[in-house]
Symmetry: C2
Subunit: 203 residues, 2 copies
């Protein structure tokens, strides 16, 4: 089981943006679309052993969390292109508008859930079932890590995690790295997935 | 120097598609947009040592070739999102409409060229300055390859290369692999870039 968690500090938490200009109007929801693509998709295939958490902290109603559960999603729900993925996120944000409960998850489509869970909530839930890694250019090289069968990876968006988030992760997530350059989150996830596939047995 | 070449058998060779539905109307130009993203972009950075060739064979006027030259491109020309990249491709296709010469390249924007060059033309030009590799799941593992300083990689689109293309590449391109699964072209390029960065010296 592989879990990928992204903290998106500016990603809008209601559908108040334009699908024609995601980078300019949505707080970079386009980054989240490519993240989902890299986490789940194979050429003509779908990774059922993946869970993705999008942790959205932009205006107007932070936090919002959207969970994508590979085991329950219908493979044709997620398509490779950004626009159709953005529409899934919009659907989740619309469904989440009336949610007041701080922890209840609402199933929007099979395997896709929206909630008011915070980044800390997501991390605590994840720790119950998986070992946590924080992907950062200054971490231990991924080739040297011994991965257990259930792994979870935290990534920052284009602005990275805040000092506060890093302090929270200290002691509960091991810092690991895919290289010394600063890579786009979607490229890191594609690389990690292909790297994990090469292990015996793969997580 | 790194060269990435993709043969897109169905990608439209004129702007007769809808930017609102690239996967459904353009012969999968969305695949090419993500390919460019993976080839060139870093987090807040741009790889100047990269060249990309898009080899388009869809209707109505195949072949068309679009070359992206990292050394000459302005870094802000290429943005991470699909839609803005699709607009660059549209611009090149529009400029290429009147081209009759089989080999002349027209510069559309700094470092972006359109032409009627065929896949074979692109491969022949590339061989003059670089060692050619064909990325395929049955190739030699990438970790075992000794890369020279100028490398070029050929990839198929979502349908893969034809038997004819494979026959043409036989003997001139070494088959190498990033794993036994069949991955999306953009994921392979992201993985190859990160892998090459880890070599000393990196190509």
């Amino acid at each position: 089981m592989r879990v990928f968690i992204i903290k998106a500090n500016k990603a809008h938490t209601a559908y108040d943006f334009s699908l024609k200009d995601l980078p300019g109007t949505s707080g970079r929801i386009d980054v989240l679309c490519r993240f989902l693509n890299s986490a789940f998709l194979l050429s003509h295939g779908f990774r059922k052993n993946v869970r993705v958490w999008l942790s959205l902290y932009g205006p107007p109603n932070p936090p919002k969390a959207i969970r994508f559960e590979g085991q329950r999603m219908r493979p044709k729900t997620l398509n490779p292109d950004e626009l159709s993925t953005a529409k899934l996120i919009v659907k989740a944000l619309k469904a989440g508008e009336g949610l007041r409960d701080p922890s209840r998850e609402l199933e929007v489509l099979p395997g896709i859930y929206v909630s008011n869970l915070s980044f800390e909530d997501i991390i605590r839930r994840t720790l119950r079932g998986a070992t946590l890694y924080y992907l950062h250019e200054e971490g231990e090289p991924i080739e040297e890590v011994q991965f257990p069968s259930n792994v979870a990876f935290v990534l920052g968006d284009h602005e990275g995690l805040s000092g506060e988030d890093e302090a929270f992760l200290k002691g509960i997530a091991q810092k690991i790295s895919v290289g010394r350059k600063s890579y786009l989150a979607s490229h890191v996830v594609a690389h990690v997935n292909i790297f994990l596939d090469s292990l015996t047995p793969p997580p």
